[in-house]
Symmetry: C2
Subunit: 418 residues, 2 copies
């Protein structure tokens, strides 16, 4: 079978399942999710065996030790996957909420009802536990999912998806609701994103190459989990103790993730006091600073920043630093260079906070808080399927409710339009 | 100047305006909208003069009398455009709503704030009054708009957009917030939908050729106003008087619009009574019926329906008719052939209604009401920019609130993530 036929067969079966899923009861979905959690624990040995094969193959893909660590399903990670499914089962059902119901002068009652999106294509890389999260969230929201993970985790992914799919089907979920593309040919991605009328939404989550492959070919709607070039702006009126705490946390608590800060902007009035202080704190933690000319004047140890630095998501212990003349200039810098993920202001001035919150065009805007809070768990969404850097439908951390859409429901009494 | 440069210059200016618009006050936006209404009335003569040029050119485009009528800006239509802007000014501001604010265990407060989308590309055909509606709705939601109307109305559109833009700018709206592509070369559409990073959303509204040109080339998100292949299903338990009223209204009240019914599905148990009755009603109103074999047995005057009929949006006094064996078969027919616009059931059975509402995958689902109600005005949204047949972000009638998105706003107190 060639890759096109393989993808289309999976996609059509999944689409057909999605049609039947809109009418599933909450009880059936939640029981299936709990059974899936049990199945994961019961099949621990088979999962580890499959995962060992991926780990054995990893050096051939040029994987570093850190990358192999992310790929590895330890016992505690297997426990966490099962626990994640139980947590999803415990969420309220996001489907079937009827809101904004009004009676109109014509006599009809009209409102909006939350409904599943349909078939979601989920294209991702590396960590096999993402397979389980994505399948669980998708099922909870009444969607079918077509999983397409990377070749580096294919054996783990296929075993996990197979286990979940089997268990789901045995518990009243339509066959094909959890499907996985087993052939990892690159063109598989293209076939998924070109499947107009079959795939309702594609969510890509991975490196730039993956995102580009999706966006360049997409004929179906896409919600991207793209990069996080995040900023901390220290305002003229900032409490500098808070500014130090927040900058250090945003840069160093976990530098390799998308909500870590990559550029620090400092108001000129506080630069002379703040920059030497934050530089000492960051450099003692091994952070390399790259500053504009004015920053360098205060901290001679800084390397010079070039235009490219403002655009860069380092995902590493490097921070670009720029002195700005005003709040407005800070906002302009952010709206020019930010990836629209998460940007923070440290300020004591309520007008500055209000202006920053209103004017910065990013999915999360923080006042006196670290960019690291930009996360579904921290926001109270529970598990997240990704962090959208797009503007439509879902923005920022995407929880299970973002995997639904709505329909209009109208109740009449033999009502006709005059 | 070539078309690419022309579009890009307009788009960049509009994008830059959109950045400034996020912070506009409600009072400034509403005053500008009222001034725009005044400007339309004050410049009635100039508008009619421009419109006369389009009307004079129309026969060369092969326009029928009905098409020329749609193109014509009569005095009452000019009044209606101004009145439309006043109504939009009177809406509550959709921007800046802060909802779902919660305090999290970490101490942060987090919520969602409605914000403008940014720059909207609006690609449309024919009626020049759409120019005014779209510009007004876009401004109210704090967006910049790049208008690209058809060549058949270009003189009217350019005069109207110029008037609105000038008046907006004179009233504190950033220059470029209302922009129009003045060159109607076909490639202009492609340049707009390829402007990644500049245009945030494209809304196409027009015939199939236009929609196809947009979708085939789109690199930016699109919300389509596509076709309406709408259904009325008469259930086993339907009140047949209601069924007659609703079917006649859905088919004949305005057959040329997207929420008119195109296919009638009838439960086999009532087909023998209902079909002859509805056929007499419809045929007396000049409706041509095309039926399945079983329908034809009850109404011999019906022409035979072929597979293509189930897919067709006639926009004319033609109705396809099919007898089904069950509610489930009706739903399956709809989910297979419907364009996902609006579908209705006539029933007395509450379980049938519930199943139909849940299982039919369309933007509007009606119970005992005519498909003709699927409309922003009827739903209480006020003016609508279109009716989305897509599933993400906005579905069904799109009002001014659907021209906003949201950002997450986090307030801390020097908060860091542990």
């Amino acid at each position: 079978m060639d890759i096109f036929e393989h993808v289309m067969e999976k996609a059509r079966t999944a689409k057909s399942a999605s049609r039947k899923m809109a009418v599933l009861s909450t009880a059936v979905k939640d029981a299936a999710l709990r059974a899936m959690a049990d199945a994961i624990l019961r099949n621990r040995a088979a999962i580890r065996e499959a995962n060992d094969k991926d780990i054995a193959a990893a050096p051939a893909f040029g994987f570093t030790k850190a990358m192999i660590d992310r790929l590895t399903l330890t016992d505690s990670r297997i426990d966490a996957m099962a626990e994640g499914l139980r947590e999803i089962a415990a969420f309220p059902d996001p489907v079937g909420k009827l809101t904004d119901v009004v009676r109109r002068p014509s006599g009809i009652r009209v409102g909006r009802m939350t409904v599943p999106i349909g078939l979601i294509g989920f294209i991702y890389e590396s960590r096999p536990n993402v397979t389980v999260d994505a399948a669980g969230l998708s099922l909870k929201a009444g969607n079918a999912i077509l999983l397409r993970g990377g070749k580096e985790a294919i054996t783990s992914n296929v075993v996990l998806a197979g286990l979940l799919s089997e268990t789901a089907t045995a518990n009243g979920i339509p066959d094909g609701a959890i499907s996985i593309v087993e052939m990892t040919d690159r063109e598989g991605v293209r076939h998924i994103v070109e499947a107009e009328g079959i795939v309702d939404l594609v969510i890509p989550r991975g490196g730039k190459g993956l995102i580009k492959a999706v966006v360049d070919n997409a004929r179906v709607p896409v919600i991207k989990h793209y990069e996080g070039n995040c900023h901390v702006y220290v305002d003229r009126t900032a409490d500098l103790d808070d500014a130090v705490k927040i900058t250090v946390n945003a840069k160093t608590q976990r530098p390799g993730v998308c909500n870590a800060a990559e550029t620090l902007l400092v108001h000129t009035d506080v630069a002379g006091v703040f920059l030497p202080r934050i530089a000492a704190e960051l450099e003692s933690r091994g952070v390399e600073l790259r500053g504009c000319k004015r920053s360098q004047a205060f901290v001679p140890s800084m390397k010079p920043a070039v235009e490219d630095d403002w655009y860069t998501e380092y995902l590493d212990l490097i921070l670009a630093v720029r002195v700005v003349d005003s709040l407005e200039q800070a906002v302009e810098h952010i709206n020019t260079y930010s990836s629209g993920h998460t940007d923070a202001i440290v300020t004591s001035d309520i007008q500055s906070a209000e202006y920053f919150v209103t004017a910065v065009d990013s999915s999360s805007v923080m006042v006196n808080a670290s960019t690291r809070f930009s996360d579904g768990g921290e926001y109270g969404l529970g598990a997240e399927i990704g962090i959208s850097t797009d503007k439509l439908h879902a923005r920022g951390p995407m929880g299970v409710a973002d995997l639904t859409t709505y329909k209009w429901v109208v109740y009449g009494t033999g009502s006709i339009r005059e």
